[in-house]
């Protein structure tokens, strides 16, 4: 439990430290305009990172999220046009969620039924969605209803309502994950699908739902990308690797079974903060990519250090088991 707090503490510390350092050099950082811009800019990554945690918890990846977000923006340019108003906007908005649901179900089908590795399955979906976006909109065109984008961007002071909503969602999701039987089942399936199936859990259904949840959250993130560009841009989504990075920095294990929605939220915010801060210092954006890469490596080493140390100690204390024994233990 104590170890679970490490990513949260680290990310909070980094957010505060980077913010304080920036504010000391650039007073406009904590300006209302910049903070509001930062929080709105963070929204797509915050939401899609929560989805990515779902996929990572069951031991998978979803690299199709970026292309899914893009096709949601493109879809919005057809279903949420400026000519529609009022209640008629609801079906248009539901269309985006529908695209998310369909993509999630498709990914889950590839992974569960066809037994494709998640990275291969979602990579295939990514290509299909990217091509479809470009086929629907060859270039950025098709204005998106500003009533919708204004609602999405509406804020109290500099804090968007949606940001408050996503924080509440992450807290509730972490409570569910660590304090309920459903959450326990999700983690158990991620840790060892075979054993949890033998214990009576429906591993297949849980994995299916995890990928669907991931895609649905990505489609909701697509709303915020749509609000950002307000036009059907076929080349906007690129948050796939960043969302995986955020989930991992937030404490998710690449092997599954471990993760934190709040941790991913903090990490996603920190990654956006880096993007926001570098231009203030007039530093090239490639530094952001390098920083993110180094941070992921450091986080992986740091978070897994206790396990690594234990493994090394155990290896020193007793001779390595014979391969046949290991095989038996695994299958037994």
């Amino acid at each position: 439990m104590r170890r679970g707090w490490l990513p949260l503490a680290l990310m909070t510390g980094l957010i505060v430290a980077l913010g304080a350092y920036t504010q000391a050099h650039h007073s406009e950082f904590l300006g209302k305009l910049n903070l509001n811009g930062l929080l709105l800019e963070a929204m797509p990554l915050l939401i899609v990172s929560l989805g990515q945690v779902c996929a990572l918890l069951v031991g998978g990846f979803d690299v199709s999220v970026a292309a899914l977000m893009t096709i949601c923006v493109v879809t919005a340019s057809f279903t949420l046009t400026p000519t529609i108003s009022g209640i008629a906007l609801i079906p248009g908005a539901l269309a985006l969620v529908g695209v998310g649901l369909a993509t999630g179900a498709f990914n889950a089908f590839l992974i569960r039924v066809l037994k494709l590795p998640s990275i291969v399955a979602t990579l295939g979906t990514l290509s299909v969605l990217e091509g479809a976006s470009l086929a629907l909109r060859a270039y950025p065109t098709g204005p998106i209803n500003t009533d919708v984008t204004n609602v999405l961007d509406s804020s109290v002071s500099f804090v968007p309502y949606a940001f408050i909503g996503v924080v509440v969602l992450a807290l509730a999701a972490d409570f569910w994950l660590y304090r309920t039987r459903g959450g326990l089942a999700l983690r158990a399936v991620g840790l060892d699908a075979t054993s949890s199936r033998r214990l009576g859990m429906s591993a297949g259904r849980i994995i299916f739902l995890a990928f669907v949840a991931c895609s649905v959250l990505a489609s909701i993130a697509g709303f915020y990308l749509a609000a950002e560009v307000q036009v059907g841009s076929p080349i906007i989504g690129n948050q796939a690797l960043e969302s995986i990075a955020a989930a991992v920095l937030g404490g998710a294990s690449l092997a599954g079974g471990k993760g934190s929605f709040v941790g991913a939220l903090l990490a996603a915010f920190f990654l956006t903060e880096i993007d926001n801060v570098l231009p203030l210092f007039q530093q090239p954006t490639e530094y952001a990519d390098m920083t993110i890469g180094i941070l992921i490596l450091l986080a992986l080493v740091l978070y897994q250090a206790p396990e690594l140390i234990t493994r090394i100690r155990n290896a020193r204390r007793r001779p390595a088991p014979l391969p046949a024994t290991t095989g038996e233990a695994r299958t037994g």
Binding site: H26, E28, G31, L33, N34, G37, E41, P44, L134, R137, A138, Y139, P140, T141, P143, E228, V229, Q230, V231, S233, P234, I235, I236, N238, Q239, D275, N276, P279, L280, Q282, Q283, P284, T285, E286
Partner: protein
């Protein structure tokens, strides 16, 4: 045996030391040579752009801190003819004011220093900060535009700081960069909006914050004059039609190919659509491939097109330099003669010099200017708006394609990657691309 080992090890150690010293000396020599090439000292100062020797000026009048006159030689160099300036009075005045600043003296060392950095102070103590923010800046064309922007900014003593940002082809980063310069309260923004209308919300934010935004090279975003100050450039649809006119005249029938920049970028899609519509029915567009304006991709793409269509009659693209490098290499590798009707938007020296070398009358190259100096006009438009001028929503330069066999892009002593119609002084170009 033991002694033998020791002396062997000593010899090996000696060799290692010699090798390390050699490598260190080589590195030091390279560093010194590079330093000399990249150094900013000894460059002196001079006109901010090409001015020629004639001294003849085109235009008349003045206002909003500008003189609406430009040397005829500057216009001929940048636009191929002093007559190819906008016809209407307002855009003509802004164009002449912008290009006419080529006569103003600037410090070349400072310009080079600014070009190598993302931010620089001009040392004038001026209160204005100007920013060139673009979605992508990693090719020679964009880097030359950056220098043209810096040279133009240095002609304004009221500019104290110059900022440059590239989002490395990342739309989200481009939006973040734009928001950042708005938060920093810069005085004026010039941009190449690689992502088209996706930039409208941030353009509107800048406008709301009282910051003029101008685009160049027909980086077209909907609503110039309403969502942002102005767009400077040539009409890319007319460019596509001009390409088609050449094809229709020189190709009786057969296959042609298009290449473009990023998928969905407005510049490529505009000329491609208009060229395709204007081609006669016997000419078929068999390929339309995005290159991301990345020179390393061009060879593979051209090779792919040639594999399927070895009898390709023509090709249209933006960057002529890439076709002198990767494009030519692909033809060579395929064992196909480098000939056909090639139409380009830019005029880098490399392709002109290659054509001169090949001396193949069946290689028919037509080109337009790369338009780097258009960024100067865009900055001047912003500066004039800050002084209260009413800026026309579009500043459009007329198009006249040039024929390589009649007007060569190959200029003696010119860096091969550079556009021959750039206004950057040669002295600086040689330091940028030694």
């Amino acid at each position: 045996m033991h002694g033998g080992n020791e002396s062997h090890m000593r010899r090996r150690r000696g060799r290692y030391v010699a090798l390390v010293v050699l490598i260190a000396s080589a590195l030091a020599a390279v560093a010194v040579a590079q330093g000399a090439a990249w150094g900013t000292a000894g460059l002196g100062s001079g006109p901010s752009g090409f001015v020629g020797n004639s001294g003849k000026l085109v235009g008349k009048g003045h206002g909003f801190g500008e003189t609406y006159k430009a040397p005829a030689a500057t216009l001929s160099h940048a636009l191929f003819s002093a007559k190819l300036i906008p016809a209407a009075k307002q855009p003509r005045n802004v164009a002449l004011a912008g290009l006419g600043r080529s006569t103003k003296k600037v410090n070349y060392g400072l310009a080079l220093k600014c070009w190598k950095n993302n931010v620089c102070k001009t040392g004038t103590g001026g209160k204005l900060t100007v920013a060139y923010v673009e979605g992508f800046g990693e090719n020679v064309f964009r880097q030359m535009s950056k220098m043209e922007f810096i040279l133009q900014a240095l002609t304004y003593p009221q500019v104290g700081k110059i900022i440059y940002m590239s989002a490395h082809s990342d739309l989200n980063q481009a939006i973040a960069d734009f928001k950042s310069v708005i938060a920093q309260k810069v005085s004026a923004i010039v941009t190449y909006p690689d992502f088209g209308d996706a930039m409208i919300p941030v353009f509107q934010q800048a406008k709301k914050a009282g910051i003029p935004v101008s685009t160049y090279a027909w980086g077209y975003v909907t609503g110039p004059g309403k969502n942002y100050t102005t767009v400077v450039g040539e009409d890319t649809c007319k460019l596509g039609k001009a390409f088609a006119k050449v094809d229709n005249k020189l190709i009786s029938s057969g296959d042609v190919a298009f290449m473009g920049g990023f998928p969905g970028n407005p510049l490529s899609s505009s000329w491609q659509k208009c060229e395709q519509n204007a081609l006669k029915p016997s000419i078929h567009v068999v390929a339309n491939d995005p290159t991301n304006w990345d020179p390393s991709k061009v060879q593979g793409i051209v090779a792919g097109i040639l594999t399927k269509y070895p009898n390709l009659k023509g090709l249209s693209y933006e960057d002529s330099a890439f076709m002198a490098q990767g494009g030519y290499a692909a033809y060579k590798a395929a064992g196909i003669k480098y000939q056909g009707v090639f139409t380009y938007r830019t005029d880098e020296a490399a392709l002109g010099c290659l054509a001169k070398k090949l001396k193949n009358p069946k290689l028919k190259i037509y080109y337009y200017t790369s338009g780097n100096p258009q960024i100067r006009v865009a900055l001047t438009a912003d500066m004039m708006q800050l002084k209260g001028a009413k800026i026309p929503p579009t500043i459009v330069f007329p198009i006249k394609l040039q024929q390589q066999s009649k007007r060569s892009m190959c200029i003696k002593g010119y860096p091969q990657q550079a556009s021959a119609s750039s206004l950057i002084p040669l002295k600086l170009l040689h330091r940028m691309y030694p």
